[in-house]
């Protein structure tokens, strides 16, 4: 038998290939998923297919905060009980989920969809800075919270935005940078420890 011919139907091979393109799924896991679907009831495949299709059809970007949403404006931007004078700036939609999970922030968000990375050729025009500056124009925003990642690209994006926003007379704050909970001091790097010492608080 020819080495390249797999003993399965093309339909199965195709699906295995499609699944293995997904992050975190290798060829073996892909195979396992496909054979699971084959054995499982018809409904499961149907719901999965529909869910995947509607993802691309129904999800758009909120015209205000650039978050992914089914309705424009998104539920957070529409919510009158949230504080519209605070905007928290994050790199990705997933970051909003993490922030919301804490349950202590009740302001607005703005998703940049990336961070400035000069060596990768990602500049201000590649992330949603223009939309943010447009939002800040009407003067109702009191505080901007920079919640970009605490790595070099995120820091640089934060420093850049701070230079743009501060002249508008809006308060600019940055999420505290220090030691993550559940870790050990001994492994902390110099930058984190320095910031942790500088940012220490009365206890």
């Amino acid at each position: 038998m020819d080495q390249n011919t797999l003993p399965h139907a093309d339909v199965i091979d195709n699906l295995v290939q499609e699944f293995s393109k997904l992050p975190g799924i290798g060829p073996k896991s892909a195979q396992r998923i496909v054979f699971h679907l084959l054995r499982a009831g018809d409904e499961q495949s149907k719901y999965l297919a529909e869910a995947i299709l509607s993802l691309k059809q129904k999800i758009t970007l909120c015209s205000t905060c650039c978050n992914v949403t089914e309705t424009d404006p998104c539920p957070i931007c529409r919510n009158d009980r949230r504080d519209h004078s605070q905007i928290c700036i994050v790199e990705q939609p997933q970051d909003i989920l993490a922030m919301e999970h804490t349950g202590i922030y009740h302001g607005m968000y703005h998703v940049l969809h990336g961070a400035i990375s000069p060596t990768e050729g990602i500049g201000t025009e590649n992330i949603r800075v223009k939309e943010l500056m447009e939002r800040l124009k009407n003067g109702s925003v009191r505080e901007v919270i920079l919640a970009t990642n605490p790595n070099l690209e995120g820091e640089q994006t934060a420093m850049y935005l701070s230079r743009l926003i501060t002249p508008l007379g809006i308060r600019v704050t940055r999420l505290a940078r220090g030691l993550p909970f559940g870790t050990e001091l001994e492994y902390a790097d110099d930058v984190t420890l320095t910031r942790a010492i500088e940012g220490r608080q009365d206890f």
Binding site: G121, D189, D190
Partner: protein, 254 residues
């Protein structure tokens, strides 16, 4: 004898490439191994013990385990985090420009201890000095030295005669200065003021302590920047990406 399974080296982190969910391939510049690449697992998670020691523009001691294709990073400890570089928008941008040039001008696994030394000194100098533009020019000139593109600034590259103290021309394609007579035959060359020529020669033949004492005006600084960036662009045959970012910053941030 086979090589030991694990080894340690000092390294400055010059590039990060994200891989899958939380993994990263790092490019290091090291004193005795030159440019090397290595893989680190799960460093993008908050609880990674290595992440802070493996950020761009950081000078670290890293431990690696040999792998079939890529070596794996098993530990890292910061030697110098160049904190001032990371706390200032301009300095971060300058630092990124420096490491991008090092990455573009070097090949994997070619050792060059002098270039490592230059890179380290440039980072330290940027942390210290107020004279940032000249520091970058010094770095560019000495980088060219180390990678074999030292521009000829003392004699005409065409007729070999020593240059007269007049406005001579710089030719990227010939790799140096041309006297006025020879420049006529080289349409891609452009004139360089006498002061610019003097500063370039001084930077080429001196060390960082000279840079700190040197003061030049904005116009001359701009002239030097243009001549060197054109030469670098000619050699690389492409734009330096972080130079475009520096340009954006100059336009938007005063």
């Amino acid at each position: 004898m086979s090589k030991p399974r694990t080894y340690q080296t000092e390294a400055i982190i010059i590039k990060k490439t994200r891989l899958r969910e939380a993994d990263v391939i790092f490019t290091f510049y090291t004193p005795n191994l030159g440019k090397i690449q290595a893989f680190a697992k799960s460093v993008r998670k908050t609880r990674s013990k290595m992440a802070g020691h493996l950020e761009l523009l950081t000078y670290s001691q890293v431990s690696l385990a040999r792998g079939r294709n890529l070596d794996t990073i098993i530990g890292s400890q910061t030697i110098n985090s160049f904190l001032p570089l990371k706390s200032d928008l301009w300095l971060t941008s300058f630092g990124l420009y420096v490491i991008e040039l090092v990455n573009q001008f070097t090949a994997d696994n070619v050792e060059n201890p002098a270039l490592f030394q230059l890179l380290r000194e440039t980072m330290e100098q940027l942390c210290r000095t107020g004279n940032r533009e000249l520091t970058l020019r010094y770095f560019e000139l000495h980088l060219l030295d180390e990678v074999g593109y030292r521009p000829q600034l003392h004699q005409c590259v065409s007729c070999q005669k020593p240059l007269e103290p007049v406005v001579n021309s710089f030719s990227p394609s010939s790799g140096g200065m041309l006297c006025p007579d020879c420049a006529v035959n080289h349409p891609s060359s452009y004139p360089l003021s006498l002061n610019a020529q003097k500063v370039l020669r001084l930077l080429q033949d001196s060390d960082y302590s000279t840079v700190e004492r040197l003061k030049i005006d904005a116009e001359l600084s701009r002239e030097l920047e243009i001549v060197l960036s054109n030469y670098l662009k000619y050699l690389l045959e492409q734009e330096v990406r972080s130079a475009a970012w520096l340009y954006t910053l100059r336009q938007q941030i005063k």
